[in-house]
């Protein structure tokens, strides 16, 4: 088994196939999209492959250390940044091909006009933190 992170971007991915912002969809199209996302997570739990699924708010800020006893320095909200992550899902699957298949299914979430959104999803292997491999 291997864990993969599926990242959904508001911005920063390859050029979207369909680029109608959600607020311009019909309300029932928005509902259908949300229902698809919830059902997808449920389906993965039922198949024993879901680790976590979370959406992220658009607003975000960069933070850094600024020396002992000093308050953290912030920069943002980063409205200008190119890359903006909308949410993530972590899956635990048998193979890379299975991860691709699931990401592709997720990308078929319905969009405007009920057509598959064909949204680009980024897929990243999660590193193991255990298991014996190297050293000897």
């Amino acid at each position: 088994m291997a864990k993969y992170l599926l990242l959904k971007h508001y911005r920063g991915g390859p050029t979207p196939v369909h680029d109608v912002p959600m607020e311009k969809w019909a309300p029932e199209e928005v509902d259908a999209h949300m229902r698809f996302m919830n059902d997808f997570a449920k389906r993965l739990e039922d198949s024993g492959e879901l680790v976590e699924s979370q959406a992220l708010a658009e607003e975000g800020t960069f933070v850094r250390y600024d020396g002992e006893g000093r308050p953290p320095v912030t920069d943002g909200p980063f409205a200008e940044t190119k890359d903006l992550i909308a949410g993530f899902m972590i899956i635990d699957v048998e193979s890379y091909d299975r991860a691709l298949e699931l990401a592709s299914d997720l990308s078929a979430a319905p969009g405007a006009g009920g057509q598959p959104l064909q949204e680009w999803l980024e897929i990243r292997p999660v590193m193991w933190t255990f298991g014996e491999t190297v050293a000897d």
Binding site: E45, G48, T129, G131, V134, A135
Partner: protein, 381 residues
Amino acid sequence: MDEPLLRELTPAVIGILVRRGADFATAEDAVQEALVDAVRTWSDDPPRDPKGWLVTVAWRRFLDLTRSETSRARREIAVDAEPGPGPVDGRDDTLRLYFLCAHPSLTPASAVALTLRAVGGLTTRQIAEAYLVPEPTMAQRISRAKRTVSGVRFDEPGDLATVLRVLYLVFNEGYTGDVDVAAEAIRLTRQLATMTDEPEVAGLLALMLLHHARRDARRRADGSLVALAAQDRSRWDTTLIAEGVEVLQTALAQDRLGDFQAQAAIAALHADARSTEETDWPQIVSWYDELVGLNGSPVVRLNRAVAVAEADGPQAGFAALAGLDPALPRYPAVTAYLHEKAGDLPAAAAGYAEAARAATNTAERDHLTRQAARLNQSLRS
């Protein structure tokens, strides 16, 4: 409360329920519930016959579970019948349970989870923790696995090779939190070895014991890896090594060599040496040759190249890499090591850095990054 005893009794009790006519999936749930009862009540009032107690309580649980699903009429028939006689031989039932839980129709991850629950007696929560997934996800994985094998006859002949692969996965891949899964894999393999003379079972047990013996020396307190050459060999567990060697010798005496026996033989030669310099590398290379003959996997040939370099020098190691795909995992790490042995430090440093970027395991990545940093520092000074 004797939890090891409970876990040991688990497969035999499931076997008895199945022989009395219970379906495997419900029997397994019933026994898990009986285990919970036992944990709760035994410390105050331990039974004289723990196994009999578990069978009685699990059977009662089974009846409750089945009656609550009245629509499943076929089960009712089994329930209304008087309990049949107990098993002729509990060991056979336990062996059959190993086969069922490693049935070829299951994916490896499902087989691992089902084996840990039904043969190992672990709870779903403990298994979920070992594989770092949420408990509901693991519960689904287990119940799907049970559905997958629901049509398999309990006494269907099984394949030991698939059971060994599952136990090997348990040994290698679990995260040790509440339960030490590597120790659990050893316990299950040890139990299996009492039920069969198949030399590969003993080979796998020996391999696990010899690896486990080095576990404390292989990691620092912070979890970082210590390469074999740098390990404090006084911290190797000599009792486990002695047992591993003995188990291996008995297996090898049967003269039916297999992968696990050959791997255990290599581990035994490492365990036997006081340092990397004193290691019998030519002998290790000849075991790798056996392994290549049994299973010519690229990973085996990659590891063989390292042993060849130790025996005959880095150039021989490079020559042994011929024909292997550089895209193999660990290929850059092996070439970096060979470059270092050959004295080409810039190539070695670059190779370790490349290998670190390609690593899929954080401990391995950190280890390779340190190797690159160490060489780059010595190149600067």
